[in-house]
Symmetry: C2
Amino acid sequence: MPVLVMKFGGTSVATLDRIRRAAKRVGVEVAKGYDVIVIVSAMSGETNKLVGYVEETSPLFDAREYDAVVSSGENVTAGLMALTLQEMDVPARSWQGWQVPVMTTGAHANARIEDIPTDNISAKFGEGMKVAVVAGFQGISPEGRITTLGRGGSDTTAVAFAAAFGAVRCDIYTDVDGVYTTDPRICEKARKLDKIAFEEMLEMASLGAKVLQTRSVELAMRFKVPLRVLSSFEEMDDTAGTLVCDEDEIMESNVVAGVAHSRDEAKMTLVSVADRPGIAAAIFTPLAEAGVNVDMIVQNISEEGRTDMTFSCPTNQVARAEKAMEEAKTKGEINFHGIVADTNVAKVSVVGIGMRSHTGVAAKMFKVLSNDGINIKVITTSEIKISVLIERKYMELAVQALHDAFELDKSA
Amino acid sequence: MPVLVMKFGGTSVATLDRIRRAAKRVGVEVAKGYDVIVIVSAMSGETNKLVGYVEETSPLFDAREYDAVVSSGENVTAGLMALTLQEMDVPARSWQGWQVPVMTTGAHANARIEDIPTDNISAKFGEGMKVAVVAGFQGISPEGRITTLGRGGSDTTAVAFAAAFGAVRCDIYTDVDGVYTTDPRICEKARKLDKIAFEEMLEMASLGAKVLQTRSVELAMRFKVPLRVLSSFEEMDDTAGTLVCDEDEIMESNVVAGVAHSRDEAKMTLVSVADRPGIAAAIFTPLAEAGVNVDMIVQNISEEGRTDMTFSCPTNQVARAEKAMEEAKTKGEINFHGIVADTNVAKVSVVGIGMRSHTGVAAKMFKVLSNDGINIKVITTSEIKISVLIERKYMELAVQALHDAFELDKSA
């Protein structure tokens, strides 16, 4: 039998009624002839409650005990989902991570899946079981202790099972009905995409479109697992949601697939840095060591041996970045006159694999922004993405203008 | 190092503050030089919540999934207790049932412990760990699935660990400060016992003194594990609580150790049964097959080939008993004129190992009741217990009068 993986997030299993609704969708796929692996999250709110207990008990907690506590939410949902399916006469049973076993690294609270042996579950499919319900987000370390996978862990579990079992597809049920050309809350013309390439989804995800965790998209791309994102609150339909797939499977596409944005960016400038060969390394090595995620970098033209160095990083890492820079100055590794942090900025990006073969996208983007009087502070580009840092108050305007200019409301 | 087992029930770990309080008690025992095994229940209310989920999802639930769901409450407490101890600089870690592993039968929701290998935990004690926190109430079946032990499971887990590790004692922390000569809510002269023999405790437990589950007392008696029952809400003190131990360790004791009572009894009479050899078997076999727990039995003197047969059973089994009797009558196995069920009764018992060597306890009991005008409906006796069924309204009076008559307010 072909295997289908279905993943239900916390809001999709928040109550017994919603679990029943999710189970009905599973039943529909079973009726089509699939052996189904269902990956479940904890009922929404449960994981936060458990994390709260742990943090209140021990602010610098032992991550092994943290994992033992917070993994229990998924176990409850897995058992309840199996019971619900049984009530619908669908042969089902639950698996906790250690029972499969989902073998992970020993990096507690942020483990990576290393292997998923398929024999236990496959044997049960062979005996007539139709649905294996697996608790997401968790595994077992080489020492036999429970691990959790960190943020987005259940999506990652789902993709890893799809890869291990050679599933035809991995359906991620969530509370949005797919991936949009841009954030519908900002741009009312935003259009749901039927398909998006893995690479585009990766850029969209890492740029602030919070539908799928980057990590699960990376894994799906590596193992070529088609991912479908769809809402568990809408009618079922074979064309529902958005399929995230290999670019070969997308016949026609717009040059630009979407416009992403992020408010969570800060612009930092080291003013009047003493310039010399190796100065970039001297600045960015201590930042990396301090755990600052530097995104964009701009260096002004050097005059009289001094230059301004500008970079962007997440807003909540500004203090850490300043501390690292002051320490490097104290040690004599770098020399500058001052640090200016500007948190009043936003990042807007256009993303699309079509940019590889089409020129002029950057020029068009800059012209659109210029026409609306929006000043660009920093620019970065990749093969399939152009990002700009602008003043925050222009973010919505920029997103709307770019969405119009690239005609994203029309499909290819 | 000598091993001490400490068990904390649901009310003793109901909040993070209470877990902290319990952890402090553990710290005190560690400071005395013990290696401590802590058995924890779920935070109070959690198990009921999970059972509610399961029953609402599937009234005739698969017990394997029930176990997977309800066992999660204990896992949460175990992790939190380990973290709390670590915060107090006490080296500790948690174990879930399958990690020990606590090997049980495959009788889901009501499994029995078959073996507890000590090597994993002992090895950690050898490496300097001072406290193993174990999730109570759970184990793993021969098929590798999670089992739970049914009612009183955490007490049973604690005693089983004490037996497996040859612990010096098993301390059961609960919300009462020990075992009393009788129910203090009924008799204000009730006195806390310093010691009570296993056999006496068994009779007291099964007769309605709800401090310890019968099953855990049986296990403690079999393996001669001294059990101490004490409150987690009172000051710690070496003489706190009640020690349940082998009778050899009790030098002096009253002939009667306590007065137990139970409201949950019904008296059933089969009126005018056609008497013949084997009639008792013909009546009580179908009752046993119907799952009716018959306690006391009285047969009147047979007149003209007919007799009245009276027995007692739990109030909530009356309907089941009536059905079984009517069916046996329909099949022609027995013949009677009618069934009279009297739920307006209560059972009062005096218990004491001293009764083995002292005569006259029964006579004294009957005289005391008679003096207060209390009519005895049914009597049963064992080697260390005399029970009577009386009209329910006299229950409190009977308990008080017997407590006075046997001078239970005074220690031996």
